[in-house]
């Protein structure tokens, strides 16, 4: 156990220099001088002696308050609200705070600034950063690259001995790590996605409470005010008693589990431990998002294939029973056929292998494969090529399907256009490499995945949605890669839309009806979260398509769904 908090070992026992202040003296350099006098040297170089003092003057902390870290980071300019947040954490909250900015305002940067400032001031040497495992590497890079903080990702037991460690909270709270960490003292503890600590019966919560720490930052994007007891628990990790004892808190602030009372008083109490910057009214200039729907008529052979697949899906679903998982999965075929024949072929081939020899299913698939063979060109791919050639700028083409990705890259290459692939299955190093190739050498990135560990494509201003996911969060992730903090230029989003298909309905719902491409990033998450308490949006849509009796019915169904989403969105705005 470390007991000497920041005091050099050679310092002697303290004496009072003021009724409140103990003074310690570390004179080890003088003791060395005495030894050298006795031995007649050796003596150090005069210039180095003066340089040492110059270094001391350069690194002196001349002021209790001014941020020292910024002059150490000439290559990095935080946004004004981030600097302001760091200052408030340091001076008003004394290093214990909840950072609750809305998504995309740079909570990590704020936390990094605070950590850097304490390190520069010599007030923090050891820091533990606990995050969901998917964010470990991202944090390590951010701290190293942006802040020059030599953080490492915890992988082996001895990594815990490093001064600044980033680890998955699920690993850290398990033995043997747990006891090891609870024996230590951390100058700073940072917990990302801290809303996972809200339940006080969980291991995460108990672990976070028990860790010994001097300064502590909890990061969360989820507005914790929505649940009063969760809010109380989170603050208890940080500063037990900040909102009074449990009964006092209930009496003063809780009207109902989800409804606070004495809002103003509560807000005032929260302001002492929590900072929430909002996009509205923030100092960020928002570039525009220019969304274009590109309507495309299928060629006769493509239309024949689409109709064939639709008929296959309908009849197979009727036989399996509508609303069964199997039937809903079949709708995927319709989506795939809107993307590329390669995508639908792969799925049909897998179905074929599973079906019995000589069955009706076999027959139907054989028929569809004939239709696939008849398709000679991909209308969408041709349009995409035309768009790319016209924009003369970096562009990301997103597709849901691996087969389409491969096809597109082949297609582009045949037309003399170099492109770089990106997919979820690639390891970190490969992803980085692809990203660099895209940045430096290629005009086009063809990606099947947008989520995962923060890929950052601010240098790119064009997105082509070759096909659309039915999970709006995935659409938001796609846009978020490009349209994010630091993007200074307008972003163009093209949605390819094959007319008379399932795709047309989806584009209409997402773009025209709920206008999700221009929604505030982060807003959707809350809405979808509420909506999907009963059933995922993907399932709802699939059900609509199977159950609808005719086009008009389908249209009305989708409109109703859109109205529900719009209603939730309005409700959310009113709550705020």
């Amino acid at each position: 156990m470390h007991t000497l908090h920041g005091v050099p070992p050679a310092a002697e026992a303290g004496r009072r220099i003021h009724p409140l202040v103990e003074l310690r003296i570390d004179r080890s350099a003088f003791e060395e001088l005495e030894r050298r006098l006795e031995n007649n040297g050796p003596w150090d170089n005069w210039t180095l002696y003066r340089l040492a003092w110059e270094a001391e003057q350069a690194t002196r902390i001349g002021d209790f308050h001014e941020l020292q870290s910024l002059r150490m980071l000439p290559r990095f300019t935080p946004l004004p609200h981030q600097t302001e947040t760091a200052k408030r954490v340091l001076h008003e909250m004394h290093g214990r705070a909840i950072l609750a900015d809305e998504v995309g305002l740079g909570k990590t940067i704020e936390a990094g600034l605070v950590l850097k400032e304490y390190i520069v001031r010599g007030l923090v040497r050891t820091a533990l950063v606990l995050v969901p495992s998917s964010l470990v590497l991202q944090w390590v890079r951010e701290l190293n690259d942006k802040f020059g903080i030599p953080a490492i990702a915890q992988k082996k037991p001895h990594h815990w001995d490093n001064a600044v460690v980033v680890a998955s909270i699920d690993t850290a709270k398990r033995e043997p790590h747990r006891s090891l960490l609870l024996e230590r003292e951390y100058d700073m503890l940072i917990i990302d996605e801290a809303h996972k600590l809200k339940n006080k019966r969980t291991g995460n919560y108990k672990f976070a409470c028990e860790l010994r720490k001097k300064y502590c930052l909890l990061l969360t994007a989820t507005p914790v005010q929505n649940d009063m007891s969760e809010l109380y628990n989170l603050i208890t990790v940080l500063k037990p008693g900040q909102l009074g004892g449990e009964s006092e808190f209930s009496a003063t602030f809780v009207a109902d589990r989800r409804v606070p009372k004495n809002r103003e008083l509560l807000q005032k109490a929260l302001n002492r431990v929590m900072i929430r910057n909002r996009r509205e009214g923030s100092d960020i200039r928002h570039p525009r998002r220019i969304v274009t729907t590109v309507p495309l008529a299928l060629s006769p052979d493509e239309q024949a294939l689409y109709d064939g697949v639709t008929e296959f899906v309908r009849s197979s679903a009727r036989e399996a029973g509508i609303a069964t998982a199997g039937a809903l999965a079949l709708v995927t075929l319709q989506r795939e056929v809107c993307s590329s024949r390669d995508a639908v072929f792969l799925t049909l081939f897998n179905l074929f292998k599973k079906a019995e020899e000589g069955s009706l299913m076999h027959e139907r698939i054989r028929h569809l494969v004939e239709l696939i063979k008849a398709v000679k060109a991909n209308t969408k791919a041709e349009k995409t090529l035309e768009l790319i050639r016209g924009m003369n700028d970096k562009v990301v083409v997103f597709t849901e399907y691996r087969a389409t990705q491969d096809y597109l890259m082949r297609f582009f290459a045949e037309h003399g256009l170099a492109s770089v692939p990106y997919r979820g299955g690639m390891n970190r190093g490969k992803k980085d490499w692809m990203m660099e190739l895209f940045r430096r050498r290629a005009q086009v990135l063809v990606a099947t995945e947008a989520g995962g560990e923060g890929i950052n494509l601010q240098f790119c201003h064009h997105i082509i949605n070759f096909d659309l996911p039915w999970n709006p969060m995935r659409i938001e992730q796609r846009i978020g890669r490009v349209y994010r903090l630091g993007q200074t230029e307008d972003v163009h989003i093209y949605n390819l839309c094959t007319l008379g298909t399932i795709e047309e309905h989806i584009v209409r719902l997402l773009h025209e009806k709920i206008n999700m491409f221009e929604m505030v990033i982060g807003e959707l998450e809350e809405i979808i979260h509420t909506l999907e308490r009963e059933e995922t949006l993907e399932r709802r849509l699939a059900r609509l398509f199977l159950e609808a009796e005719g086009e008009g019915d389908l249209r009305r169904g989708i409109d109703r769904l859109g109205d529900v989403i719009l209603g939730l969105s309005r409700q959310r705005r009113q709550e705020r």
Partner: protein, 326 residues
């Protein structure tokens, strides 16, 4: 430290450690390190132990260090730095024929585009930005703190005026000490004092640092110089300097400490108000004990965070001989 100050600092360091400067401008330096500097900076203990054991001729590393502020650096052909940037991003083992693999190079912290990839025929040159706050400069700071701790020096005798002043060649010894004082609570401030005390008379000079700046010092005692006897041992002199410093510090402003103490008390009351009712309502003695222990821990954290304290440390110190008696 601005770019110019960093450049001066670095060049001084390189000259003093016997490094070979190949090329130099106000905004950059290309240098082949001396063995001493290489050992200190390149973190190659295995290589150096190999050299030491086999007596092989050491091959030291060559660096191109750029000092400009980042605003200027960005213009000069950032795109040309592609190979470094690719390697720095850790792209390993995924080279394709179309895109040749870049050689691995160490990534400077907080890397930005380098002005240009410096190349010398047949020599691997590592390019880095060296700005205030960069890890490399920090490393130089650490080195000089370790290697510039104690000196023993003489002021050069004044030229010409040989006979004028009979005392000009009578030298007395001074103990010069550089103190760093840090005042710490949940925040921190530092003050520096460069003081000297005459070992002959016990006089304390609070402007000793300036005197040193203005003087030419040498390691050799020239034959015509006569050293006067000291009456104070360095230890006694040090005790006097410390006492002097302490008196000065006592007269200082302690508002920061009073405020920190108020925060500490407030925080302690707050956690107590949280745990007290819990302890009272606890069902068993065992629970009570556990809660009390938790409270004690929280209190210890609060003390750790807020307790006002001061530390005096000696950055470096030396014996300096000056003409005359003060």
């Amino acid at each position: 430290m601005n770019g110019g100050e960093v450049a001066r600092f670095v060049v001084s360091f390189l000259e003093q450690t016997g490094c070979h400067i190949i090329e130099r401008s106000p905004s950059h330096v290309v240098v082949k390190l001396s063995p001493e500097a290489d050992r200190a900076l390149t973190n190659r203990p295995f290589y150096w132990s190999f050299v030491d054991r086999t007596g092989a001729e050491p091959e030291t590393m060559t660096f191109a260090w750029y000092f400009e502020p980042p605003g200027n650096a960005a213009q000069a052909g950032a795109a040309e730095a592609a190979p470094e940037a690719l390697a720095a991003a850790g792209g390993t083992g995924v080279a394709t024929a179309a895109f040749p693999a870049a050689s691995p190079a160490s990534a400077p912290a907080a890397a930005g585009p380098l002005p240009s990839a410096y190349s010398l025929p047949g020599v691997r040159v590592l390019s880095e930005h060296l700005h205030f706050g960069s890890a490399r400069l920090h490393q130089l700071f650490e080195y000089v703190r370790q290697r510039g701790r104690n000196v023993f020096l003489f002021a050069e005798p004044p030229r010409g005026g040989r006979a004028a002043d009979p005392f000009s060649h009578a030298y007395t010894a001074w103990l010069g000490v550089n103190f760093k004082v840090s005042s710490e609570c949940d925040m921190k401030r530092e003050d520096l004092y460069s003081w000297g005390i005459s070992l002959a008379t016990g006089v304390i000079d609070e402007k000793f640092g300036e005197r040193l700046q203005a003087s030419k010092m040498t390691t050799r005692l020239s034959p015509e110089i006569r050293l006067l006897k000291s009456t104070l041992t360095p230890r006694k002199a040090m005790a006097r300097l410390e006492a002097h410093l302490e008196r000065k510090l006592r007269r200082g402003d302690f508002t920061w400490a009073v405020e920190a103490e108020a925060r500490r008390q407030e925080e302690r009351e707050r956690v107590a108000s949280y745990y007290r009712p819990l302890i009272e309502r606890a069902d068993s003695e065992e629970q009570k004990r556990a809660l009390r222990e938790r409270l004690a821990r929280r209190e210890a954290e609060i003390d750790w965070q807020y307790r006002p304290r001061m530390t005096v440390s000696v950055t470096n110190c030396g014996i300096f001989h000056f003409p005359g008696i003060d």
